[in-house]
């Protein structure tokens, strides 16, 4: 099913549309209209050349995304970004979709509460979402329902809080956990006897 859709949308690679590559506003307006037709969402707007963005409700995102994917042809999920708006107590998830056909990027933004951060996955539509969602899960603690693999990956040896949250202060953590160099070494000793370890209190060099 997925493959069929891709085939339908995959233009012949050798037939390029030069006018599209230059990004004429006409195409972008068409896309906004197409999104509107397909999803009924009227909030998408042109932000910059080839950049369309708009807010989506978190519970409607998956529906919208699948409509965008299947009707308008945004086959490439460029990235999913997450922003921690601590003051508003919300996470903002930004889905960046790229259309190989229309050479245009759609950013769909959605907000979810920080405490019960949970989103349906889009990995059933875009396979790359597997990585992005796992990454956001690790770094922010957002749970993506339906993602088959949310195991720790990059931070597999980390047992602290999700580090990308704004309330995690990396500077304090580093000061608490790591030994910082004492900046008064005995340079004469170092030059003479070869550098061993600067062992702080009590340690003597060999």
């Amino acid at each position: 099913m997925i493959a069929d859709n891709y085939l339908a949308h995959t233009a012949d690679p050798r037939v390029r549309k030069p006018e599209a590559a230059t990004g004429s506003p006409r195409i972008e307006e068409e896309i906004i209209k197409a999104i509107q037709d397909a999803t009924g969402n009227e909030s998408f707007s042109l932000k910059a050349p080839r950049r369309i963005e708009g807010p989506v409700d978190s519970d409607r995102l998956h529906t919208l995304a699948s409509l965008i994917w299947s009707r308008v042809g945004f086959q490439h999920l460029s990235a999913i970004s997450c922003v921690d708006w601590l003051a508003e107590d919300e996470f903002e998830l930004v889905y960046h979709f790229w259309s190989y056909r229309d050479f245009c990027l759609v950013s769909a933004k959605t907000r979810i509460p920080r405490e019960t951060a949970s989103m349906p996955t889009v990995s059933d539509l875009w396979q790359p979402a597997l990585f992005f969602e796992r990454d956001i899960h690790e770094m922010f603690g957002v749970v993506f329902e339906g993602n088959p693999d949310l195991e720790k990956y990059i931070l597999s040896d980390w047992d602290g809080p999700p580090p990308m949250r704004k309330d995690f202060i990396t500077r304090e953590f580093a000061h608490d956990h790591f030994h910082f160099r004492d900046y008064e070494p005995d340079w004469d000793e170092l030059v003479k006897g070869g550098y061993h370890s600067n062992r702080g209190e009590g340690g003597t060099d060999v």
């Binding site: 980390w158 580093a174 790591f178 910082f180 160099r181 370890s197 060999v206």
Partner: protein
């Protein structure tokens, strides 16, 4: 009982002179400094002139080059691999990040001072050190080995408790399957400090 530098026999000196001409470096790209190693190895700078070759497994390697920052996750592996290496072994800290954390001084993921966790023979400063600096460092190491001064590896056996404590502070207990204090007794390397 251990022979100090001055007590070395003439035979020992001769062999050390030969031995220092062969140094094998562990092929482990721990950090971004590793990108300067291929130029050092290959035609332009040609590390093999000094008998330095990259080696795959820790069993064969003499030099453990920590090429830049070490995340805690890598540090675990580095400790494992360091313990798997056969003494004498030399750790060379490469780049500012190994000395004081460099530009990652406030990162939650990287350690700030390599010599707290494994004994370091010397550091190469810079971000990142140029191939010339690496070669300079290696020739320095060769000289030190020839003079019998490059003995930092013994420090790990002698002060294992210290290193172990620091390691455990960062990542908890790991089982590297190498019993360092017992090895020190078995191979008669120094005295283990209580």
């Amino acid at each position: 009982m251990e022979k100090t530098i001055t007590q070395r026999s003439a035979w020992d000196k001769v062999l050390t002179k030969l031995q220092k001409r062969s140094l094998w470096m562990l092929h482990y790209c721990t950090g971004c400094g590793a990108v300067e190693l291929p130029p050092t190895m290959t035609a332009r700078f040609d590390m093999e002139r000094f008998g330095i070759m990259p080696m795959v497994t820790p069993r064969q390697a003499d030099i453990l080059l920590i090429t830049g920052y070490l995340s805690v996750k890598t540090l675990k592996r580095v400790v494992l691999i360091y313990e798997q290496m056969q003494s004498p072994k030399y750790v060379v800290g490469f780049g500012s990040c190994t000395i004081n954390g460099g530009m990652y001084w406030n990162s939650y993921a990287t350690i700030k001072s390599l010599d707290q966790y494994i004994p370091v023979e010397f550091y190469l400063a810079g971000c990142m050190p140029r191939p010339e600096a690496i070669i300079e460092g290696f020739t320095e190491l060769i000289d030190r080995i020839g003079e019998g001064k490059a003995n930092s590896w013994e420090d790990y056996y002698k002060n294992y408790e210290f290193y172990r404590k620091n390691q455990e502070h960062v990542f908890g207990t790991i089982d590297t399957r190498t019993d360092i204090p017992d090895d020190a007794k078995y191979f008669k390397i120094g005295e283990v400090e209580k």
